[in-house]
Symmetry: C2
Subunit: 522 residues, 2 copies
């Protein structure tokens, strides 16, 4: 077991900053806006006078490399001959529809009918909508006060939709869910911010996060002025979450005067793609109880499991299975309509299920929700649909299954294709993508490449990713944006390009890598 | 001119807290959730250990009185005979569709077609959708990469939709708008939070806010740990914004060591309903330039102007009209799909137009936007529609005008009916509701009522509002939730109940007030 010290958190942040700066320096693209204001002292707001927490926060998934890609895309549109590729392939972000995944028909039918309920009174509607989408839309509208999909809802979300979601959770877990525990949110992110806002009082408050992690967590902790306490996933055991490592980090953080308040666990893993075993989850739950930590469970990829021998279990199911009640553990489970086989990122729907909070603390969480009034109703409706899709006997059922299974089996094939291809590259090793939407290969860079990156004032994996983009149009995110064991280098690549594009991506990646390794061979 | 001191900010906050506590104490309703966890020391999260900024923040529009109303509503459903009214009338919040306002047909047609684009390929669609909704949906889809309404967009919003909105702004103002200056948001609130996050570094940073104000501002300032610097609107001159008052407050705050960074101006006013004159707006713009303040202009009620002699002018138009460029003033204009004649609160669409920021500060704002990925696409589409509604010659134009004008003229009548009725009550004075969606009457409470409120440990206007709710089912928000000159008492009541409900509301209010004044006569 590696000896990990709290100091790594600092190194991680510095590394991320170095990357951001260096990529920024490297980019020769014009500024995003055509204008630039004179930085005279008369300006009421400069980078020197804004909130420094904003400066500190980084979000690599849409960071400098993506901005660089956007400039290249503009260049392609104006003078396509100047670049060695004909399109930008955005593998930086889990955004399935942007890469051609089609929406689930039933979900969109219900959304259209809910948006424009007068359709329900027209004869023609029965010819162009499925009967169960019509009945579901009626059911949803009848559950919304005044059938008003244009009204603000209860700040936690429409009660009848929360009832539906609670039913879906209970069916998934075999344990009851209370609709009063659900907070419907615009995607999962606002729920993460709300919990960080509640938990973090000062820079002495820490949140345990996996490294590598999804940078929403590091960004949110930075914005709320807290401390990211890293625990390292073990790449050698398929990104295993080892409780001994978590304990060591907790101990070290406490010795450094950090009040560790919560632990983030991402399952299936992002960017790492591992699916936790039941036993492992039980350990984590017991650890949270014994250490008095809130468990923030990112479960947004619960419908994305590809490994035959793995299955998703919610942390709530695990906790209740071992006899833990609300008295024993504070648990927040995040879900989103953006992932799974639906991938409806643009709808910004999601929820968090909050159990085990003191009721007066929950009142404070409710107050936070009221300040933003409510999440968007279409997203709320969609969240209720993904938790209660068509059932056997419904007119849409067959088509729904075909669409869902087609997407999931294709994603499984794409995950395998990409991981296999990566493992064939010189100096590259990649764990299986058991779930989620990503491959996270390790690249063993030659010393010459590291030196060249240093000369270019770039973090080595950002140097690699930028060269990959410039050569192929493929956008990936450097591992330094997620955090990694110092001295190791990775990148995250989504498995989302459609299957007919995969051969070109694999060959583009392979050829680039070969040339890169030749150029920088030690 | 009243002598105003910075100390009022403190008093305002204490007053709001007193109200919240007292209403909470007063309420005999059961806790919102059936369960209550034992507050033992083993709980990792208690009100004593959460972020104190969360405790400090208050949002009266959905505060304790509304929670009390929700309990009464549940009571109505189970044992309706026990209460002296048959329904709860929510006049606490500008939520038009919840009170029966119908959506604009064209907008909903376009949303339905964008949600379920396969409708566009069906013959039946032409029978049940207007031709311009079909062509607009095609135009919108063609502007979205891959026609994917289910994909995350650019973090500022879909470029083609920002182009549309910029065209709408330019048409409104007669001055150009740059789509790169637009940040599309889930309603206006997230944009306000983003700017507060950027501006506020510590409790020494202040934001000038009108008193009375919309409590999103006080809540957001509290959450970000800043200082609300109040400037009082002059009730005697129809809630006039007097620049001498603002100057005095700025001076006092600076003497107290506060770094005042920005001023919030709400026009048309919320909760006060005044519409600023051009001359007044020019004064404000000049003041911001000379004092180096960012102008945060809440312009979400720009389509809600009822006074014949008043007209809405955006602050950007005013600034450009007097020759101020981006070099002269940092200006943020907020707009929302939730208000106007559309009132689409549940869609959570909105934008902020940010001009005059240093480009590197704007990069930081963009980074903040990326952390939350993007706002919901339906809300983005709707924002583009309200800024570019059907035009003369379009098939929908006539119906659109009928719907829009019907709603706006009815709102104007309702505003007048309510204000007239309020002014007939003993000890009540109410300025004209020139715009927005509210009446904000002053209630001159008898000493006996104030004593009774004190005995009940309540702020007097919360005492009044609670008694009004208990007697009539009408929900209003106490003036103390918005701030008011100490010793004066008000409430905010929306003008949104449908016209056929207005007589009952007016008579309910009138009868209650008469009984209240009789009961507590000095």
């Amino acid at each position: 077991m590696r000896r990990i010290v709290i100091d790594r958190a600092r190194r991680f942040v510095s590394q991320a900053k170095l990357m951001a700066n260096s990529v920024s320096n490297h980019s020769s693209a014009p500024p995003r806006n055509g204008w630039r204001r004179d930085l005279s002292s008369s300006s009421p707001l400069t980078v020197a006078t804004i909130n420094p927490k904003v400066l500190e926060c980084e979000y690599a998934v849409r960071g400098e490399i993506v901005i660089h890609a956007q400039h290249l895309q503009q260049e392609l549109q104006t003078k396509s001959s100047s670049l060695p590729f004909s399109e930008i392939i955005y593998c930086n972000i889990g955004n399935p529809h942007s890469l051609g995944q089609q929406p689930i028909t039933f979900f969109r039918e219900v959304l259209a009918l809910s948006d424009h309920p007068t359709l329900l009174d027209k004869d023609e509607t029965h010819g162009i909508f499925s009967s169960d989408s019509i009945s579901r839309a009626w059911q949803i509208l009848d559950g919304i006060p005044g059938r008003a999909t244009g009204a603000y809802s209860h700040s936690q979300g429409v009660k009848s939709l929360r009832d539906e979601i609670a039913r879906g959770i209970a069916k998934r877990d075999g344990f009851p869910s209370n609709p009063d525990d659900l907070f419907l949110t615009d995607g999962a992110s606002p729920g993460v911010h709300m919990m960080m806002q509640l938990l973090i009082r000062s820079e002495k408050d820490g949140i345990l996060c996996p490294i590598p992690q999804y940078p929403l967590y590091s960004a949110s902790i930075a914005l709320h002025g807290g401390k990211l306490v890293p625990y390292y996933l073990n790449e050698a055991t398929g990104w295993g979450l080892e409780i001994s490592e978590v304990k060591e980090q907790l101990k070290a953080a406490r010795l450094n005067g950090i009040d560790v308040r919560a632990i983030v666990v991402i399952n299936p893993g992002n960017p790492t793609g591992q699916v936790l075993s039941e036993e492992n989850q039980q350990e984590i739950v017991r650890f949270c109880k014994s250490e008095g930590l809130v468990l923030l469970a990112d479960e947004v990829y619960q419908d994305n499991v590809y490994a035959d021998n793995k299955e998703f279990h919610s942390f709530k199911k695990i906790a209740r299975s071992i006899g833990y009640s609300e008295e024993d553990i504070c648990l927040v489970s995040y879900h989103s309509v953006s992932k799974g086989y639906y991938g409806e990122c643009g709808k910004r729907g999601g929820y968090m299920e909050v159990t085990g909070l003191d009721s007066d603390v929950k009142d404070q969480l409710y107050k936070l929700a009221t300040v933003n009034l409510c999440s968007n109703i279409s997203g709320q409706i969609l969240a209720s649909l993904i938790m209660n899709p068509p059932q056997n006997g419904d007119e849409s059922f067959e088509m729904f299954c075909t669409e869902r299974d087609g997407i999931l089996s294709s994603l499984a094939r794409r995950a395998k294709t990409l991981v296999d291809a990566l493992n064939k590259l010189e100096g590259v090793t990649c764990n299986e993508s058991e779930g989620a939407m990503y491959a996270f290969p390790r690249i063993h860079l030659p010393q010459q490449a590291i030196k060249a990156a240093e000369a270019a004032k770039m973090v080595p994996d950002a140097f690699y990713a930028t060269k990959l983009l410039d050569a192929t149009g493929i956008v990936v995110v450097p591992g330094s944006g997620f955090g990694q064991v110092p001295g190791t280098w990775h990148f995250r690549c989504t498995i989302l390009p459609q299957e007919d594009k995969m051969p070109a991506i694999v060959s583009g990646l392979t050829e680039f890598h070969k040339r890169f390794m030749e150029e920088f061979h030690d």
